[in-house]
């Protein structure tokens, strides 16, 4: 496995899972407090929303590495080898350009949010920039993994990243 995936992308994916776990603990604690004491955690909705964004975007690149993002090869797999590679190359270049744009926009938005001290209106004034930063981190990592996967694919087509159906055919739990 590529060092970047092993040491950065996948650990961040686990961190995303831990954030989801924290979200669960927060929700359960709120329920228990509300039922027991008649009052829940102030601002639980605002905190939950920020945690949700962090958990999801921390793992978006890990999902790419693990082949969880849905794609279909039904069309390209029926093309002649050269035509398939041309079509996939066009798709990959387009994908890189768009994901790079998304990553750039996400970084700018996160920085602006940090500079302005943007917060979520509600019972608690929860700062939003950590969530926006998580979006930016997620897209940047996704871009790196996407480029790596594409380069690897065109260098060694037999090692191409699996699509959902190919994983399914191999008996991988989706």
């Amino acid at each position: 496995m590529w060092w970047f995936s092993r040491w950065i992308t996948l650990p961040l994916g686990v961190a995303g899972g831990i954030v989801v776990f924290a979200l669960m603990v927060l929700t359960v604690t709120d329920v228990v407090m509300r039922k027991a004491a008649g009052q829940g955690i102030p601002g639980v909705i605002e905190y939950s929303e920020v945690l949700l964004v962090v958990g999801v975007f921390f793992a978006i690149a890990a999902a790419q590495v693990r082949g969880f993002h849905v794609a279909t090869t039904g069309f390209v797999s029926n093309l002649p080898r050269t035509a398939r590679r041309i079509v996939e190359l066009i798709g990959a270049v387009l994908g890189v350009l768009v994901v790079a744009t998304m990553a750039y926009v996400a970084v700018v938005t996160a920085w602006t949010s940090f500079e302005n001290g943007e917060y979520r209106m509600g019972i608690a004034h929860v700062l939003v920039w950590p969530a926006r930063a998580a979006v930016a981190v997620g897209f940047v990592l996704y871009l790196v993994e996407y480029i790596h996967g594409a380069v690897l694919h065109f260098q060694r087509p037999e090692d191409e990243p699996d699509t959902e159906l190919e994983l399914a055919e191999r008996g991988v739990l989706l």
Binding site: T72, V135, L173
Partner: protein, 492 residues
């Protein structure tokens, strides 16, 4: 509509299909097509603003917290090995019925769906246990795999269905009401499947027919005979030992994700009863919590996930801290990865839906269909057929994200009950899970069955499409089947 806008819509749809056909992730295809459409409509600056905001604004919604909670509960329940217990109990309870093993598979699929909300996970988990069991008992391998693929579609209706949650969010329906609405149709579908299994079993549908199938059964029989002790106690030696493998970097390196599976055939243990009890507890927390109004759907998911953590700790306590730690870590990364996959689709779908909204297409389509004075039932049936056809080509979440923003204004304009239509749409979409060419459940079933291809499973599953159509017809004729539980609890 303005001809320029029509041209832009056609361009965006062509780009969407082209990028999907280029084997790119579907969430990216939706974002590219939606983004391009917005650039053509409003220019690049507004598009950048929309894309920049979409990641945060479409995720940071409290109503969406329910999705990772249900995913977490399912991941923990899978790692706790509850499927083995469920199948063992179902197998014991149905042994007197003709085709009992097939009926047990359907029951186990329904039960496991109730704690995972994922059809693929249900096929993989139950299939690992049941397909080889059925094959050894004389079922054709492709028919056995077809049963698992079919049974797992119950997860689309039986709560907690993640597809239901997504439909509710897309249409503004109550998540709790929709989840409750799926309960009776899900159980009804399960009954239809079981009756069909018994019917087909009696007609010899599951018997090995080809030379290869008979040879496979003979080889199992020989192995089984040699493994059975004189006192015919337990059959352990021939029990399947399956491990699911996760994909490492770019899908190449696998590693074990769950404990091995060994099924006792002739007696059930206390652990089997306890495991099935755990499944019932999780189901009751989700359904009972929402039904009684103690919890919202999000809270029910969170509480059930917390209980699933405790169940996992109890189940793995004998295996030591390391095994427990690995199971928890795997559950976390599985949860985060699956949730990210779903939210990425929601992100791409939101950009595409925003573009469609800006063009005014959904309203224009709705107005023209309503003005045509077509009978609502006809429009509903056409939409369901469309969902079934698309379901055979794309994955279910993507279909909902592409089609529902267009369909829902039509249904709403005609005064169609959103809860009822939601159940019908889910049922139609579920057929896509088992329909060629890309019925994902069939591919997962083929992956876990060593002896059959997806094509042969498609052949075996064909007669069950009739059952699916009968169920849809019943649900159309009697809307109360879908609406009476939520109406009873939450009011009309």
């Amino acid at each position: 509509m303005n001809p320029d806008v029509i041209f832009i819509v056609i361009t965006a749809v062509v780009v969407l299909l082209a990028v999907i056909m280029m084997a790119q992730p579907i969430w990216l295809a939706l974002a590219i097509a939606g983004g391009l459409g917005l650039i053509l409509l409003d220019g690049p600056q507004i598009t950048m603003n929309v894309v920049g905001a979409a990641g945060y604004t479409n995720t940071a919604r409290y109503a969406l917290v329910v999705i990772p909670m249900f995913v977490l509960m399912g991941a923990l329940a899978s790692k706790a090995g509850l499927a083995v217990d469920l199948f063992a109990i179902a197998q014991r309870l149905t042994r007197w019925i003709p085709g009992g093993l097939g009926v047990a598979t359907i029951l186990a699929c329904g039960g496991f769906s109730a704690v995972t909300g994922s059809t693929s996970a249900t096929v993989a988990t139950i299939g690992h246990i049941s397909v080889e069991q059925m094959t050894r008992r004389g079922y054709r391998a492709n028919a056995a795999a077809a049963l698992v693929a079919l049974g797992a579609t119950l997860g689309v209706l039986i709560p907690p269905s993640i597809l239901m949650v997504i439909f509710a969010i897309l249409t503004g329906q109550s998540v709790g009401r929709l989840l409750l609405a799926g309960l009776v149709p899900g159980l009804l579908t399960m009954v239809f499947y079981m009756v069909a299994v018994v019917f087909f079993y009696k007609r010899g549908f599951f018997e090995p027919k080809t030379v290869k199938e008979k040879a496979l059964f003979d080889s199992y029989s020989t192995a089984l005979e040699s493994a059975i002790p004189e006192d015919k106690a337990l059959v352990r030696a021939a029990a399947p030992t399956g491990t699911f493998t996760a994909v490492g970097s770019n899908g190449r390196s696998g590693r074990p994700m769950t404990a091995s599976i060994a099924v006792l055939e002739d007696r059930i243990t206390v652990q089997n009863w306890v495991g099935s009890g755990f499944v019932a507890i999780l189901f009751l927390i989700v359904i009972g919590g929402m039904y009684t109004g103690i919890f919202t759907s999000t809270e029910a998911g969170a509480v059930a996930a917390a209980v699933a953590v405790i169940i996992l700790l109890i189940r793995l306590s004998r295996k030591g801290a390391r095994a427990t730690f690995i199971a928890l870590k795997d559950s976390f990364i599985d949860t985060a990865s699956v949730s990210s996959m779903i939210f990425a689709l929601l992100f791409g779908g939101a950009i595409f839906a925003f573009f469609l909204l800006k063009t005014g297409l959904p309203n224009a389509v709705a107005e023209s269909i309503i003005d045509a004075n077509l009978p609502p039932l006809l429009v509903i049936i056409i939409s369901l057929v469309m969902l079934m056809i698309l379901g055979a080509l794309l994955d279910e979440i993507s279909i909902l994200l592409i089609v529902i923003p267009l369909l829902w204004p039509v249904m709403e304009g005609m005064g169609v009950d959103g809860i009822w239509y939601g159940v019908l749409a889910m049922k139609a979409t579920a057929i896509g899970l088992i329909a060629p060419p890309v019925g994902i459940n069939v591919f997962v079933a083929a992956g876990i069955s060593k002896h059959v291809s997806a094509e042969r499973i498609y052949q075996a599953i064909l007669p069950f499409f009739i059952v699916e159509l009968i169920v849809i017809a019943v649900l159309i004729m009697f809307p109360a089947i879908s609406t009476f539980v939520p109406d009873l609890m939450l009011g009309p």
